[in-house]
């Protein structure tokens, strides 16, 4: 792990060794009555051998990012725009544009350059094909190898994923494996063709707590040994902070805070990040009632005007209660009026502003303009 990867440079400049570079990604799902802006002006990059955590509640657009990177959202279903969305080939300077790429290009990207690990390992494996056969199929989709060689490669990738007795596991069906083994098999399948980037979409949510740590250990090991860029999508900020190099906290389709994982976790600046941390139980802590963030994420068809977090924002409510600044009632709570109105230069809510090196926050109150 190089120092550069541990502490990547600021967000708007791609890190020198970035493998994935996304600038101004916007995904709008089309529906008959109203368009839903699932992802709005999101920028991030992932370096080679770096783990980037993307954290947020359900409905924040985390998974949409994963799907749009893989080109899995049908053109008819959503409009995807970005200033740049590209992936770099391993150890070369050749970038592949992911935006508006044709089906053929995307097929060569999926698996070979970007691998995906899904939340539910039980569903991600074909119930009627032996695990090894499925992995061999994925290998044969990209490489001109024979059946036997593909099978051998599949066994090797199962070994890399830490499955004991990989040969036998390769012959097993999904239901014959335990949950953790299934997820390892899924990781083996995603990494069979040695992509430069692995997207893990809530890879541990469906797993036993004891197995969760093992799967995360595995992801860390693969990142370090194979120098794979990992995008770890989760709703568990403390867990991500512990594992990832950098974190992006997403709310309502936008990144509200980003920076080196430890710093964001120890010195959270956005009220949403603070709330997320308070939501998770911590070891060695006095017994306390776990907090919940009041309300729910608004539907993507109508995000709140102004700062999108204002209906649930503790900070805004506190300031409105303790100062004489003008307040307004939103969803039964009194919040700052200034948070509920769009600003001329920031019509879609606050943009990210750097508060310390690499640490950026999108909050009008924390970072006064």
């Amino acid at each position: 792990m190089t120092q550069a990867a541990m502490h990547p440079t600021a967000e708007n400049r791609p890190t020198t060794d970035a493998v994935l570079d996304v600038r101004g990604l916007r995904v709008v799902y089309r529906s008959s009555d109203r368009d839903a802006v699932a992802v709005d002006d999101v920028s991030f990059s992932v370096g080679q051998g770096e783990m980037l955590g993307i954290v947020g509640e359900s409905g924040c657009g985390k998974s949409t990012i994963a799907l749009s990177l893989l080109g899995l959202i049908p053109r008819s279903a959503a409009a995807i725009t970005a200033r740049r969305m590209a992936i770099r080939e391993r150890d070369s300077d050749r970038w592949t544009n992911l935006l508006g790429a044709g089906d053929r290009v995307m097929r060569s990207v999926r698996g070979a350059q970007i691998g995906l690990v899904m939340q539910e390992p039980a569903g991600a494996l074909n119930p009627v094909l032996p695990v090894g056969r499925q992995i061999a199929e994925a290998i044969r989709a990209h490489r001109m190898v024979g059946r036997a060689e593909a099978r051998a490669l599949a066994v090797r990738s199962l070994e890399d994923a830490g499955l004991p007795d990989a040969r036998r596991c390769g012959e097993a069906y999904a239901h014959e494996l335990s949950g953790g083994m299934r997820q390892r098999a899924c990781i083996a399948m995603a990494l069979a063709v040695e992509p430069v980037l692995l997207i893990a979409d809530e890879p541990t949510s469906a797993l036993d707590v004891t197995v969760q740590a093992q799967v995360l250990d595995l992801l860390e090991r693969l990142r370090d040994e194979k120098r794979i860029g990992v995008v770890l999508i989760s709703h568990n900020l403390p867990m991500v902070a512990e594992r990832a190099d950098r974190v992006c906290v997403m709310y309502a389709g936008r990144i509200v805070e980003s920076g080196p994982a430890q710093r964001v976790f120890e010195r959270p600046s956005h009220p949403y990040t603070e709330a997320l941390i308070r939501c998770a139980p911590r070891l060695g802590e006095q017994r306390r009632r776990l907090e919940a963030i009041p309300g729910a994420v608004a539907p993507a068809t109508d995000w709140p005007v102004g700062c999108r977090f204002h209906p649930r924002c503790e900070l805004s409510a506190q300031i409105a209660a303790s100062t004489d600044r003008e307040g307004t009632i939103v969803a039964g709570r009194r919040v700052l009026r200034s948070c509920t109105q769009p600003r001329a230069h920031e019509p879609a809510g606050p943009v990210l502003v750097e508060i310390e090196e690499g640490h950026r926050v999108a909050c009008w109150e924390r970072v006064p303009r």
């Binding site: 074909n126 119930p127 994925a138 004991p164 097993a172 995603a190």
Partner: protein, 352 residues
């Protein structure tokens, strides 16, 4: 690897025999045995009833005419294998040509399906187990040889219908959108035609032939499978493992054939077993009306016709084909139903 202690559960569940005594086991078994008997009778029909011996010595050489007849039913062997002279000549009458004292082993019933004797509409006897029809042909011989025709028509027509149905259904279900809309309408249009009358209308224009019957049945009976396959592919399309397969870079065709087809196969095969029963009945119906298998070939439909025509004068003729058709349809349904129960996790856990 701390997970190394995790165990692979012994792979007993899916690899257990389909015929194990589980849900629907007895039903399935009965059907399989019954169908096996019918298929075997059809296949070995020349050894059971033929106007040529199984083994004989003729003109100083040993001949196996009935054995060759049997082996010729094996698809490719039929082109290579030929009966020895003079048994392959059409007009050759082995019964009279063979010297009376020559060595010969005859089938249990020494009459061919088309061989005419002088006993017209005879009642069952030691010589003619099930009697003879109005042209003096042995009913047992015709029944046994008719099984071969029925089995062939039933299996091949269903296989062809299944291939068409799965292809169309998979294309509709997997592609979706306009393809699905167009193909679904095509399926509905074909369903709307009363199949039997459509077949009848087509057969009137065709020379009667077994191949014609097979193709016509297949072209009208594929819709059920197509709808089933479409529904299965539609359901599987959104499955996580299909998404995972896409993420691994598999092409759509590869995903459809290698990943989705195996999942749909079991339920589709179940519906196909019922299709075999349908095809057998359609073939019999067509032959009964005279539009099916050519009259030179034995068919249960023909037997049914001659039994029907002489219902009052020779009532024994109607039973054999009826029982044969009933047994075949029953076997197909037992297999289909038993198999369906086997695959249906919600079916009650009672055997039989």
């Amino acid at each position: 690897m701390s997970i190394a202690s995790a165990h692979v559960v012994e792979a007993t569940l899916p690899r257990a025999s389909v015929f194990a005594r589980r849900r629907g086991g007895r039903r399935l078994w009965t059907g399989v045995v019954l169908a096996g008997v019918i298929v075997a009778v059809g296949f070995f029909s020349p050894l059971l009833a033929s106007d040529q011996p199984i083994v004989c010595r003729h003109d100083g050489r040993v001949h196996f005419p009935a054995v060759v007849d049997t082996l010729q039913k094996v698809p490719l062997l039929g082109r290579v294998l030929r009966k020895s002279e003079p048994f392959r000549f059409p007009g050759f009458d082995a019964k009279h040509a063979l010297a009376p004292d020559a060595f010969a082993i005859w089938p249990v019933v020494a009459f061919g399906p088309g061989e005419m004797t002088d006993d017209l509409s005879a009642a069952p006897s030691r010589e003619h187990w099930l009697g003879t029809d109005e042209q003096g042909r042995d009913v047992f011989a015709r029944l046994v040889h008719g099984a071969a025709v029925s089995v062939r028509v039933g299996l091949l027509a269903t296989l062809l219908a299944g291939a068409i149905g799965i292809t169309v259904g998979a294309a509709a279900g997997y592609t979706g959108g306009w393809t699905d809309r167009v193909l679904s309408r095509v399926i509905e249009v074909v369903i709307c035609f009363p199949a039997f009358f459509l077949i009848l209308a087509v057969m009137m224009w065709l020379e009667p032939s077994v191949a014609g019957v097979i193709v016509v049945i297949a072209l009208t009976r594929w819709t059920g499978v197509a709808r089933f396959a479409r529904a299965e592919f539609l359901r599987l399309k959104s499955a996580d493992f299909v998404l995972a397969a896409r993420c691994a870079g598999n092409s759509p065709l590869r995903i459809a054939v290698r990943h989705m087809l195996p999942c749909t196969l079991a339920p589709v095969l179940v519906t196909l077993t019922f299709g075999v029963a349908d095809a057998v009945m359609i073939e019999a119906g067509l032959s009964w009306l005279g539009f099916g298998v050519p009259p030179t070939q034995p068919s249960w439909g023909h037997l049914l016709r001659s039994g029907y025509d002489q219902l009052l004068s020779a009532p024994h003729l109607i039973y054999p084909p009826c029982i044969a058709i009933f047994a075949t349809v029953l076997a197909c349904h037992l297999i289909g139903e038993g198999w369906r129960r086997r695959l249906d996790p919600k079916a009650e856990m009672v055997s039989g």
